[in-house]
Amino acid sequence: MNNGGFTIRRYFFFCLRVLFRQRRDVALPLFFFLLVSSLFPLAFANHAVPLLAPAALWITTLLSVLLSLGNLFREDAEDGFMEQLMTAKQPLPLLVAAKMLAHWVAYILPMFICLPLIGLWYAMPPDTLSVLTLSLLLGTPTLLVLGGLAAALAAGLKQGGTLLILITLPLATPILLFGLTMVDMAQNGLSYAAARDFLAAMAVVSGGIGPMVIAASLRIGLD
């Protein structure tokens, strides 16, 4: 099949390969995630840890995701590869989706693998940990899309990293709140279906229209 040289799937694996060749860069947000997660139980009084653990973990995840997004488009923008993608035959939204998916696998999946360890640090009951994991699984796609949008808009700028955090945090607040509502409900033995469904709906919406919005933002950001 000749699609101007590559398929979306090949581009996805290409992105993954690039990310895994920059192991050090990929490891940094994960290291940040572990480091900050270990600070909270140290800083909190012992009795407060189980109470505050879900909130601490959500905020840590939010910040780690934002940290990881700093170089989502920057390198491609700097070395001109992004222009190539924009003029490629393949639709830009699909390329963006493939890139974001690779980003999720390389940066965010490892955080989920570390969650049981952190649950241990926070002495979290397995039930709470599983609901928390679910809330993060449903919440991170939306966080990724919101952050990706900001990363696309700030791609050509010098202070891109800081601006990205500044833009994403206020927009991500509802996701954080619903994620924590979900855990809070579960901890109190109530049904958390409403918050879960809201997060799932947001994930579907951002997964569906996110790549298109980010592609449009890239065209604006790199104008």
């Binding site: 949008l149 808009l153 833009i167 206020p170 509802p174 919005v213 604006i220």
Partner: protein, 236 residues
């Protein structure tokens, strides 16, 4: 077609110049009368005493904080789809005013909150979403100052504005969707307003005055920006 004609800076400039005095005098006259009526003449509230009078500043500011954002969203859509120049200018000139009104809302609200609720700040849905609005304004302003090219800045700001618009219905309906410490709507509600006319009329006056103030200032800023661009083009 008519809209397209007025959306060109060349026709918008004199039009704005003609409208500005109207907005200015509406702002000045209604502001003076409304504030004097509200702060001095209006009867004392049976429950809240004199403290309720802060609403003559607080409520219109809160309306403005949302109205400005909504007008920015409309401008953002026009800027993104049609690249309308005046919409871009509207977007560049509005967020600082919106942020100011949001700030005034939050400050007057906390000053009222201390005697009424016993706390300057609570993390209630209405207050939190208004604070988030302030942060969104700041994010938009940060982008404006980070991008030297004005047209590009406007389109980047437009993108953030459209995404951030989800917060506006959250603010508006927060008092209905959640049980909040912040009181519910007492003006635009089913069954008519629950405020006496002698208190309500000055409120509408200050609201109209604040709205005119915004339009006056935003037109002034747009005109200045058009002049600046003209000068730059002439000297370049």
């Amino acid at each position: 077609m008519l809209l397209r004609k007025f959306s060109a800076p060349k026709t918008f400039y004199p039009l704005a110049g003609k409208l500005m005095p109207w907005f200015f005098w509406t702002f000045a006259v209604l502001g003076a009368v409304g504030l004097y009526w509200g702060l001095v003449l209006a009867p004392v509230d049976a429950v809240q005493g004199q403290a309720y009078r802060i609403m003559y500043v607080h409520v219109p500011s809160a309306w403005m904080s949302m109205m400005i954002y909504t007008s920015m969203t409309a401008a953002a859509i026009a800027a993104l789809i049609w690249r309308t120049k005046v919409a871009e200018l509207w977007l560049l000139c509005s967020p600082a005013l919106g942020a100011s009104f949001t700030f005034i809302t939050l400050v007057t609200g906390s000053l009222w909150g201390k005697p009424m609720w016993g706390a300057y700040w609570v993390w209630d849905a209405r207050l939190t979403s208004e604070l988030v609005l302030l942060f969104i304004y700041f994010a938009i302003l940060a982008m404006k100052s980070a991008i030297p090219d004005r047209r590009k800045a406007a389109r980047v700001m437009a993108m953030i504005t459209v995404v951030g618009f989800v917060n506006i219905p959250i603010i508006k309906f927060s008092v209905d969707w959640w049980t909040t410490l912040h009181q519910g709507d007492s003006i635009f509600r089913k069954g008519g307003p629950s405020i006496a006319p002698s208190m309500l009329i000055p409120l509408f006056m200050t609201a109209l005055s604040f709205t005119s103030y915004y339009f006056w200032l935003v037109l002034k800023r747009i005109r200045t920006m058009i002049e600046k661009t003209e000068n730059e083009r002439k000297t370049a």
